[in-house]
């Protein structure tokens, strides 16, 4: 089953590369996405399919990520069709092919239970997404791609070293070195502590680079700023989630090895640092796409904090993966529409989006309120759960800082968003061709509905899945 999920998109990618028509090629995306989502739900409904081999196992966290990635991709794929219709002047062969490949690889990440394989997959996502950032072929996009590649590859290289350390950690104990998650978890307590910790640090930095934790986040604003909005959405919801999953593995091992207190210090430090940095860079941010990038940095930080708090906060963390993913979908897609309508992403030129694009403007505003944790939207539930975790294990300082940074982010982000949305639109923007169409407006609306739904009602299966994930992270086979 795993192979179908992984290979089908890649085959479709090959097909896309083969199709000549620039206009019809994009339609491969929704088709593939629909099949992929259908398969995903089938797999999730059938526990017996979850194990395909020792290396390919779909455990609860993997299921969550797979669900997020697949849904995100489904909605984005429709948006892509609409978007690429506006960009007929440029060949989308590579774009579509890379997107499809990327879907396959992300599925691989969710299945991989062998850390080496995991690493290969993550590195592959880096490579397959680079052309997406480069889509506009402008000087700026080249620069963004270059930085993304270099910083990303160096980070990933460190992750590789960390993986090796992890394998080596079992040597001093006289065990045969291995990288399969199951075995590592099983003899986690025997692993040599120094190597384990070293590998933890390296993997934190390595996969943290991919997630975009401060101070390894530097590629993020450039990449998100220059890539098309939809790519931003897939990065912020998909790539980061995959990297987080990869990191979750080593976290799991360290927790099983009884390193909890040690790693929680690191995680809290990194998480709060990321939130703080994101907040600082958002203050007075004039480029609303870069602002979204920093918001993504902030939310990676929130995930780290949740992980570091552990216990009751774990549920919130897992939930936040989902809510953050879909909310980012709303923000990036609507931001993309606004960007296109104004042909600028600088708040000096962009204002009055609510009048120029009533739908996208409203969505952008609502998305902002959602992502900053206002009830009744999904992120509120997850962030509040994490806060409860902080209070629950008596870490009042963490809770205080958490709230403080949330406030800073709210102020920094709100200033920019309101500048974009409110006021009168400058006259010249009314003759840009773009107007909200079905394909470009419906997906963000769908995301928004999801966000609202998650804030008021978490479906029982999802809740069960989240609880399983929390259980799983606490367990060791």
């Amino acid at each position: 089953m795993a192979w179908v999920l992984i290979c089908f998109p890649i085959i479709m990618a090959a097909l896309a590369a083969a199709i000549p028509s620039n206009r019809w090629r994009p339609w491969l995306l929704p088709v593939t996405a629909l099949v992929h989502t259908a398969l995903t739900f089938w797999v999730l409904s059938r526990p017996d399919l979850a194990v395909s081999s020792a290396w390919l196992v779909l455990d609860p966290p993997g299921k969550i990520i797979l669900l997020v990635v697949s849904t995100l991709f489904l909605f984005c794929s429709f948006y892509c069709v609409g978007y690429l219709n506006y960009r007929q002047e440029r060949s989308n062969r590579i774009f579509v092919a890379c997107l499809l490949t990327f879907l396959g690889i992300m599925s691989l990440v969710t299945w991989a239970h062998h850390l080496g394989l995991m690493w290969v997959a993550i590195e592959a996502t880096t490579l397959s997404t680079a052309p997406l950032i480069y889509f506009n072929h402008s000087k700026r996009s080249i620069e963004a791609t270059w930085k993304y590649l270099l910083v990303g590859s160096v980070g990933i290289a460190l992750a590789l070293l960390g993986t090796f350390f992890l394998a080596y950690a079992s040597l001093p104990a006289g065990l045969t070195p291995t990288l399969t998650l199951g075995e590592l978890l099983h003899n986690a307590p025997l692993l040599s502590k120094p190597w384990l910790r070293a590998s933890f640090v390296l993997l934190l930095v390595g996969y943290g680079t991919k997630m975009g934790l401060a101070p390894m986040h530097t590629w993020k604003p450039d990449a998100y700023g220059e890539a098309p909005g939809v790519v931003g959405a897939i990065f912020a919801g998909g790539v980061t989630s995959c990297a987080f999953l990869a990191f979750l593995r080593i976290y799991h091992i360290c927790a099983a090895a009884g390193e909890g207190p040690y790693i929680s210090r690191l995680l809290l430090f990194m998480g709060l640092l990321s939130m703080a940095v994101a907040g600082l860079f958002m203050v007075g941010q004039r480029d609303f796409k870069r602002m979204l990038a920093y918001s993504s940095v902030e939310h990676m930080g929130i995930l780290m904090v949740g992980l570091g708090l552990g216990g009751p906060a774990l549920f919130g963390t897992m939930l936040h993966l989902v809510t953050n993913g879909v909310t980012k979908g709303v923000l990036f897609l609507s931001a993309g529409n606004i960007h296109r309508a104004y042909a600028s992403k600088n708040t000096e030129q962009v204002s009055g989006a609510m009048r120029r694009l009533p739908l996208s403007g409203a969505l952008f505003l609502a998305g902002f309120l959602a992502i900053t944790g206002s009830p009744p939207f999904g992120p509120f539930i997850s962030e509040f759960a994490i806060l409860n975790g902080a209070f629950d294990n008596g870490r009042f300082w963490v809770a205080g800082l958490f709230l403080l940074f949330l406030l800073v982010v709210f102020m920094g982000m709100g200033k920019t968003v309101l500048k974009v949305v409110q006021g009168r639109a400058p006259l010249e923007v009314h003759d840009t061709p773009y107007h909200d169409g079905w394909l470009t407006a419906a997906p963000p609306v769908a995301f928004m509905v999801l966000v609202l739904l998650l804030g008021l009602y978490i479906p029982a299966p999802l809740r069960a899945l989240l609880n399983d994930a929390v259980q799983f992270l606490g367990s060791r086979p």
Partner: protein, 213 residues
């Protein structure tokens, strides 16, 4: 074993050469040699030669020693640029820095709780110091190509460490890693070409239009 240690020492020396050389072409050659030498390590490390070991060695020599360097040289030719690297800090200081880092790691490695097998004290320090040298190259060079070279040195360092765990890392994964490395360098060199066309230079100091103003 002595053989292996000698090899590793050569690798370390090559690091310092890479730091000290000014012409990009020769740096490429140095890195290529280093890669090829690394390919030999597994053969020396494991006395009874198994298939994965041989394959890994072959792939390493082929890729690190021949394919990637040739790609680099082509893109160097394609880019009609001044052939000197332009270090942030002078060549000599960077050499000294690298030397210090290496020395520090060698001393520090005494503290590391190393496994009884394989009994060799040089592999781990060699790999770590190579990684550090890679970082020094990455952070002190401006030419896109020389930064790529730094990345390669970094990879080499990691590869050395990987040699300890051939049996831990199955062949498929090994190959996957090589593939990634290859594609990575390939894509990067494509991008460097684009940079060279767009900016008519490979100086990454030109690439500062994306920033917080």
């Amino acid at each position: 074993m002595e053989m292996l240690n000698a090899l590793l020492v050569i690798v370390l020396v090559l690091n310092l050469f890479a730091l000290g050389t000014s012409r990009i072409l020769s740096v490429i050659h140095i890195v290529a040699t280093q890669g090829a030498l690394l390919g030999v390590i597994p053969l020396l490390l494991h006395e009874h030669l198994s298939l994965p070991v041989i394959l890994a060695a072959a792939a390493a020599i082929l890729l690190k020693g021949i394919v990637i360097p040739s790609i680099m040289i082509r893109s160097l030719r394609a880019a009609q640029i001044k052939r000197e690297v332009e270090p942030l800090i002078g060549l000599l200081p960077s050499v000294i820095l690298g030397a210090l880092a290496t020395a520090f790691v060698l001393l520090f490695s005494k503290q590391l709780p190393l496994a009884a097998h394989p009994v060799n004290t040089l592999i781990v320090p060699a790999s770590i110091s190579t990684v550090l040298v890679g970082f020094i190259l990455l952070t002190t060079r401006f030419k896109a190509l020389s930064q790529v070279l730094g990345y390669l040195v970094l990879e080499n360092g990691i590869f050395i460490f990987g040699m300890l765990l051939v049996q831990a890392i199955p062949l498929v994964v090994e190959m996957g890693m090589f593939l990634d490395l290859f594609v990575g360098v390939f894509v990067i060199s494509i991008i460097t070409n684009h940079i060279n066309q767009a900016f008519s230079s490979m100086d990454t100091r030109m690439l500062v239009s994306l920033k917080e103003e």
